[in-house]
């Protein structure tokens, strides 16, 4: 899903190998291996539990290992995933990794700062940052919209839903 590249539909062309899928296969194998390793450290169950705690993790881990292998084989045979289409998704061009990296950066900034600055501030940064990364040029307006959204969601959660979101640096202001 995430490691796909848009491939033009070519019926008679030579086999295209989507190498990114090897990464996904390796990820599946690592997860499967770790699930089995983790399960091996569990204490055996009691007598009234014939399956025990290990059975289910073992099954899941083994399945992940097998699926990793199957995906590797499928990739070598030229099996490519179908990319998800959408209203503003244009699959005729390759992936724009620079934009993705910038967007991840904006998310990371939010994660790092949210405890200190509080959602009301980082939410505005998150919105304006995302909009800017995705091609919007009206930065001041974006910050205003973002601030309005984040402050209203903060009050919405705090007052409307009774879910206290920490105000952090704006304690006493909000």
């Amino acid at each position: 899903m995430s490691t796909t590249k848009a491939q033009p539909p070519t019926a008679a062309a030579p086999v295209t190998i989507d190498r990114a899928q090897y990464g996904l296969a390796a990820f599946l194998a690592v997860v499967g291996g770790y699930v089995i390793y983790d399960a091996s450290g569990l204490e055996p169950g009691f007598a009234d539990d014939p399956l025990g705690q290990k059975a289910f993790p073992y099954a899941v881990g083994a399945a992940l290992l097998v699926l990793g292998m199957l995906l590797t084989v499928a990739t070598m045979r030229g099996d490519t995933p179908q990319s998800e289409e959408g209203e503003d998704v244009d699959l005729t061009q390759g992936a724009d990794w620079f934009t993705v990296a910038k967007l991840i950066g904006v998310f990371a900034v939010n994660i790092v700062l949210v405890d200190f600055l509080g959602w009301a501030i980082t939410g505005a940064i998150l919105f304006a940052g995302c909009a800017g990364v995705l091609g919007s040029t009206t930065h001041l307006r974006n910050i205003a919209i973002g601030a309005a959204l984040s402050v209203s969601t903060w009050y919405g959660f705090y007052v409307g839903l009774g879910v206290p979101i920490p105000p952090s640096i704006l304690d006493g202001v909000l």
């Binding site: 499967g32 705690q53 992940l64 209203e87 998704v89």
Partner: protein, 410 residues
């Protein structure tokens, strides 16, 4: 007439001002996200899952059901006016619908889609009322082995149906099961990496937001459409006498295709919309019109699409099987209230179930009222620039306090 009384009671509960407000909010939001680029119903429901921390369950379900139904109306609008079906179920609508719009018959295409959806949705919901309690009664008689079989069926069905590749579906299924293993729910910490934060497991809200909001945002960012799409302007939808004559049979046939496919765990909406299209082309008196904007080709598949949504909800309520992504997220919402959807639901939470079903009728009627006069407004929404919609969807507090909602799986 037990069922009728229960349904009336449900209407009584659904028509309280607060719940009616949630229904209105739901269908408005649903239509908006169906029309707006970059955000769909599954993502919207996932982002609104934090509501379940404090809002009454029946209100939350009414909101989510409204979004589910509304998303489908909105999806047909973009298919017809933009030729960009947001989801697989409206691909077929786009074939004839967009041709009709290009030929200057956008108003009729939107009208037959909206009225057809209303007819199919209403008939479908009536079928839910008639069939769901009976099915639930039968399923209640099953024992633990049958429940396990149903769970396995659900997992296999979701794996096989969502997406075209069974291998990749299985990969995500087992990654999901591995995520479900995290936590100390069984008495011993599993996969917690020694972190007490993971002892409660990973909250379903976090998983849903990660997949439907963050994942989607990154995917859109990677493939952002740089040039704006061409929107076909449209006036108020209306249909002439001939359009009505050509539409009503496809509506009913589409409903007949859609409902059973929606209710069967491996059915979904793609098959019945396609079958409906093929049938209408075969039965049409002027088959040469197909491919150039035949109204039957919009009426039938749109009805099939909405009838299958009703069928999906029947499976969700009567058996506890989610057949679509949105239904899956609604299921997660129910579980976060500690309610296990399934056959016992009709006995243990009758008011909740019937309120939800009543709200489906209300949502359907609201959508018809909302969509016919307001179609030009929604059409102008299609023109809103993608870059402002996607970040809005990613800006939701996604670190609301977690609460253990681990399902019965591990």
């Amino acid at each position: 007439m037990d069922t009728l009384n229960a349904l009336l009671e449900g209407f009584g509960n659904a028509l309280t001002p607060l719940n009616l407000m949630y229904a209105c909010l739901g269908v408005l939001l649903g239509t908006a996200v169906g029309v707006l680029p970059g955000i769909g119903p599954a993502m919207t429901v996932a982002l609104l899952l934090p509501l379940t921390y404090n809002v009454d369950l029946s209100s939350a379900l009414i909101l989510f059901a409204g979004i589910y139904y509304g998303g489908m109306y909105g999806g047909s609008t973009t298919s017809i006016l933009l030729n960009t079906p947001g989801e697989a179920s409206s691909v077929i609508t786009a074939i004839e619908g967009n041709k009709m719009a290009k030929a200057g018959r956008a108003a009729q295409a939107l009208a037959t889609a909206a009225i057809g959806s209303f007819v199919a949705g209403t008939i479908g919901t009536v079928l839910v009322v008639l069939l769901a309690p009976t099915i639930a009664d039968q399923v209640v008689k099953l024992g633990a082995p049958s429940y396990l079989a149903i769970m396995l069926l659900a997992l296999v069905a979701v794996t096989a149906v969502l997406g075209s590749s069974k291998l990749r579906g299985s990969c995500s299924l087992f990654v999901g099961l591995a995520i479900g293993l995290v936590g100390a729910g069984t008495g011993q910490p599993r996969l917690t990496f020694g972190s007490p934060l993971l002892a409660d497991g990973i909250d379903i809200v976090i998983v849903a937001v990660a997949i439907f909001a963050l994942g989607e945002a990154l995917w859109v960012a990677a493939h952002l459409r740089r040039r704006p799409l061409e929107v076909i302007p449209v006036g108020r939808p209306w249909m002439g006498k001939q359009d009505w004559q050509r539409s009503w049979k496809p509506w009913l046939r589409g409903t007949a295709f859609g409902f059973p496919f929606g209710a069967v765990p491996a059915g979904g909406a793609e098959m019945p919309t396609f079958l409906s299209y093929v049938t209408e082309r075969k039965l049409s008196r002027n088959p040469e019109e197909f491919g150039r904007g035949a109204i039957e080709g919009v009426a039938g598949p749109e009805a099939a699409n909405n009838a299958s949504a009703a069928g999906t909800l029947m499976t969700l309520l009567a058996i506890g099987l989610p057949v679509t992504a949105t239904a899956g997220v609604i299921l997660a919402a129910m579980q976060s209230y500690g309610i296990q959807p399934g056959p016992q639901l009709f006995d243990s939470e009758p008011l909740l179930v019937w309120t939800l079903i009543a709200s489906l009728f209300i949502a359907n009627a609201l959508l018809l009222v909302l969509n016919l006069p307001m179609a030009p407004l929604w059409a102008s929404c299609c023109r809103s620039p993608g870059p402002t919609c996607t970040p809005a969807s990613s800006s939701s507090p996604r670190w609301a306090p977690t609460r253990s909602t681990s399902s019965g799986w591990t």
